[in-house]
């Protein structure tokens, strides 16, 4: 009884917070900006979904605890209703009193949207009812077993993602002579009701089938003899490579541009991951290495740069890497004694110093000041490459994609090998407890410098490729937001995890590129994502799997070692 009372109290307070979050989303204008995006045409827009997400999620959270069914559902309903009351009250207030001079985004179209194009009072009631229903649905999601919840959530995500991809999918489907599919899927910039159901079903079934297929596949592979296993692994790898190589052709030019950005940030994040994820050195000036990579490449390869030597890219590259590594040492050396917050602040300053140096008038003869350096030749020397037999014409992003992919793969291999070696373990030990690491024999000075130098070498590759992609470098590119974005990618994906880096880059770079409306709210979304991650899943989306959960639980009932010579565990305290 007392448990359910406290659950209801919690529902009310969470409901108030949820309502506030909804009002905030409305007031900054993000909801209205996305209300032009149909998810299911005539039924729901992306803006509406954004507003629906908070009560849904909070309803789920509040109903997750508890044993009795009824109080949990009631808690969800109550939470939704409370948040709905807040939104309704705000709607009535904003309709009655003109507050536009304070909150500029509260425009008549926004109010109309919020009131479902009804009268304010009717709109308020609708909001209340809808929010309550959403809270309840969230609670239901918490109550049902995960074999129901998981497919349902995957299905909804599928519908949202496919509808978001409409502007890119539609022309691609036409290119591949699949107009029929395109016509079935999309009606006026969104899915139709029928196609939404189909998409939902495909994703839902997929989420159920995929783990089973994978488990069967793994079991088969495990049962096979070593020779067959090697063959299977080889074929899988080959398929993956073929897919990655063909990806720009499948994706088309615009999506390839997105992929290029994702690749660039993946590369940067792989490098920073060495410094932050492995060695635990919070470097907020990572953009410096990106800048050094770009500028050195431009200096060495552009015939009209101050050096004017015009080296081919692959000749210049070793010099660029060396230069970046040395920069890493220069930035690393003065901060060796700093820890935690102090390190972060000082490196932040170094990042800005790097940008200002490239921008400065004093160094203009070398770096060109605000004009930067122009005339960087394409990476392969020519702007267009045609692939024989396949008949591909590679140019712009579809060409830049390949060196980026190459460097990403190299960087991932390097990072993995370091991680599972003496070096990676020494870094981890340093991250965990610097003093003990040193007392155990790790030369922390050298290992810090090594982390900075290797991180810088990986990061500069991104800069090098990008200078050739844009055919120029400008100091404005290298601002602090790059450092923050790269760090956000690592945090979102999971510190120290390489697949996590890729997922983080796809989510934080890929998604905003796909949604033009995001541009204005990008930082808001990054901030929100980071806060949510810290609260809900601090280990990141795809964390390192360093142990098996079962093992952990099985070890609770510890018994003394079988042989008497060993120590037995002590009682705590």
């Amino acid at each position: 009884m007392r448990g359910s009372a406290s659950q209801l109290r919690r529902a009310i307070s969470l409901g108030l917070i949820t309502g506030a979050v909804m009002l905030y989303l409305v007031a900054v204008g993000i909801v209205l900006a996305f209300s032009a995006r149909n998810t299911i045409t005539g039924v729901v827009t992306l803006g509406r979904l954004m507003l629906a997400a908070p009560p849904l999620a909070a309803g789920y959270v509040v109903a997750r605890r508890g044993t009795d069914l009824a109080p949990r559902l009631v808690a969800g309903l109550l939470l939704g209703a409370v948040s709905g009351v807040i939104v309704a009250a705000a709607l009535l207030f904003a309709s009655a009193v003109d507050i536009r001079h304070i909150l500029v985004r509260i425009s008549p179209p926004l109010l109309a949207f919020l009131a479902f194009d009804q009268d304010a009072s009717i709109g308020a009631l609708l909001n209340l009812a809808l929010a309550a229903a959403l809270g309840l649905i969230g609670a239901v999601a918490a109550v049902v077993p995960s074999r129901v919840r998981r497919p349902a959530i995957t299905g909804v995500i599928g519908v949202v993602v496919i509808s978001m991809l409409e502007p890119f999918l539609r022309p691609r489907l036409t290119d591949f002579k699949l107009e029929g599919v395109s016509r079935f899927l999309f009606t006026h910039k969104g899915l139709s009701i029928a196609s939404a159901i189909v998409v939902f079903a495909i994703f839902a079934v997929g989420s159920v089938a995929w783990p089973r297929v994978r488990a069967r596949y793994r079991a088969r592979v495990a049962a096979a003899d070593p020779g067959t296993q090697a063959t299977i692994r080889g074929v899988t790898l080959l398929l993956l490579i073929v897919f990655l190589l063909a990806l720009p052709q499948i994706a088309g030019s615009f999506l390839s541009q997105v992929l290029v950005f994702v690749g660039l940030y993946t590369l940067l994040a792989l490098g920073l991951n060495i410094v932050v994820g492995y060695a635990g050195l919070l470097d907020l000036g990572y953009v410096a290495f990106y800048a050094v990579g770009s500028y050195l490449t431009a200096l060495l390869t552009s015939p009209i740069s101050s050096l004017g030597v015009g080296l081919p890219f692959w000749v210049a590259l070793p010099i660029v890497i060396l230069g970046a590594a040395v920069t890493g040492l220069f930035i690393g050396a003065p901060v060796l004694r700093l820890r935690g917050d102090y390190l972060a602040i000082v490196t932040l300053g170094f990042g800005e110093i790097a940008r200002l140096l490239f921008l400065s008038d004093a160094l203009k003869p070398w770096f060109g000041g605000t004009q930067g350096i122009l005339g960087v030749p394409p990476l392969f020397g020519v702007a267009k490459v045609s692939v024989p037999i396949l008949g591909w014409q590679l140019t712009g992003p579809t060409l830049t994609y390949y060196p980026l992919l190459f460097f990403c793969v190299i960087a991932a291999i390097v990072a993995t090998r370091l991680k599972y070696s003496r070096i990676g373990r020494a870094w981890n030990a340093m991250r965990e407890d610097e003093d003990v690491a040193q007392a155990t024999g790790v030369n922390v000075t050298n290992y810090k410098l090594l982390a900075f130098a290797l991180g810088a070498s990986v990061g500069c590759l991104g800069g090098a490729v990008f200078a050739t992609h844009l055919a120029s470098v400008f100091p404005g590119t290298f601002n602090i937001l790059v450092s923050i974005t790269v760090l956000s990618i690592i945090i979102l994906g999971g510190m120290g995890s390489i697949p996590g880096v890729v997922v983080g880059a796809l989510a934080l770079i890929g998604l905003p590129e796909l949604l033009r409306e995001f541009a204005e709210f990008k930082l808001l979304v990054y901030g929100g994502v980071l806060v949510l991650m810290m609260l809900l899943r601090p280990e990141g989306l795809l964390p390192d799997r360093v142990r098996q959960q079962e093992l952990h639980e099985a070890d609770e009932e510890e018994e003394p070692g079988a042989d008497g010579g060993a120590l037995t565990p002590a009682e705590q305290g």
Binding site: R422, I423, E432, G441, V442, V546, L551, T568, A570
Partner: protein, 275 residues
């Protein structure tokens, strides 16, 4: 317990001629006004087990920290295995052949048990970053040997096989203590320094720990320095005891002498008896 997997010869290092493994001469350590160690003369014979005891705040851990390079002495000198280590960095001292455990367990919490031991082996490994990046045969062989060795050490201290992939922070208190010992042993130290290894243990466990310490000396031919708070613990296991009080050495000798020493009784046992 089977320990044949560990080769005692490998753990000994090259045996120097000198009888003393460690010599400290007039070591003084001051922390702004407070003298934590004053003019301490101290030595450890090879293959001995010696203990430092003293009441809370006597300066035992501070002395330890100077032997392992964590603090530089304010004055005085320390030599280990014929090398003057005064003012050396901790990792340099570790490389010479010392290894330690901590009074309050200090493991690498978010690393697995086996990785903790592997880090302990760090000083004896030769692989560099470029070896790792190119995955050379030499580093692969070394990594494999170290993994093997780490498993043997976990077994030696009595950690069962399936705990090897547990995060250190998820181990039980006793297992964490054992893991710390395994990590220390991984570097094939000549001198093992244990800071209150039985802290938080009941009498039965304490006995097992002291037996284990004796076995380590016999089977791995280690020299061991033990810090203890509780005098009774070290009576059986150590052949010589040094007593610190308020930062000064007030007595040194065999357990029986120490037990009978009136200064010790007054400064230490007396205090404990009235406590």
């Amino acid at each position: 317990m089977e320990t044949h997997a560990i080769d005692p010869q490998a753990m000994m290092g090259d045996e120097g001629g000198a009888r003393l493994l460690l010599e400290a001469h007039k070591v003084t350590k001051q922390f702004e006004g407070l003298t934590a160690n004053r003019d301490i003369d101290f030595d450890i014979p090879r293959n001995a087990i010696v203990a430092i005891i003293g009441p809370n705040g006597a300066g035992k851990t501070t002395f330890f920290n100077q032997l392992t390079g964590i603090y530089a002495p304010t004055s005085g000198s320390i030599s280990f295995d014929g090398v003057d280590i005064t003012g050396m960095q901790p990792h340099e001292v570790a490389e010479l052949g010392t290894a330690r455990t901590y009074q309050n367990i200090r493991l690498f919490q978010n690393m697995t048990a086996i990785a903790n031991v592997q880090v302990g082996r760090h000083v004896r490994m030769r692989g560099q970053w470029f070896h790792a990046i190119f995955g050379t045969p030499s580093i692969r062989r070394e990594e494999e040997e170290v993994l093997q060795r780490a498993r043997e050490l976990l077994e030696l201290v009595g950690l069962r096989r399936r705990t090897e992939n547990e995060l250190a922070k998820n181990l039980s208190y006793g297992d964490q203590r054992r893991l710390e010992v395994a990590r220390a042993l991984a570097s094939d130290p000549k001198l093992l320094l244990l800071d209150e290894p039985t802290a938080g243990m009941n009498p039965g466990e304490t006995r097992q720990m002291t037996d284990f310490i004796g076995r380590l000396r016999r089977e791995l031919r280690l020299t061991i320095l033990l810090i203890e708070h509780d005098m009774k613990v070290v009576m059986g296991v150590s052949e010589r005891i040094t007593v610190l009080d308020y930062g000064e050495k007030i007595a040194e000798g065999e357990p029986a002498e120490i037990r009978a020493n009136p200064r010790v009784i007054e400064a230490y046992l007396g205090k404990q008896a009235t406590a």
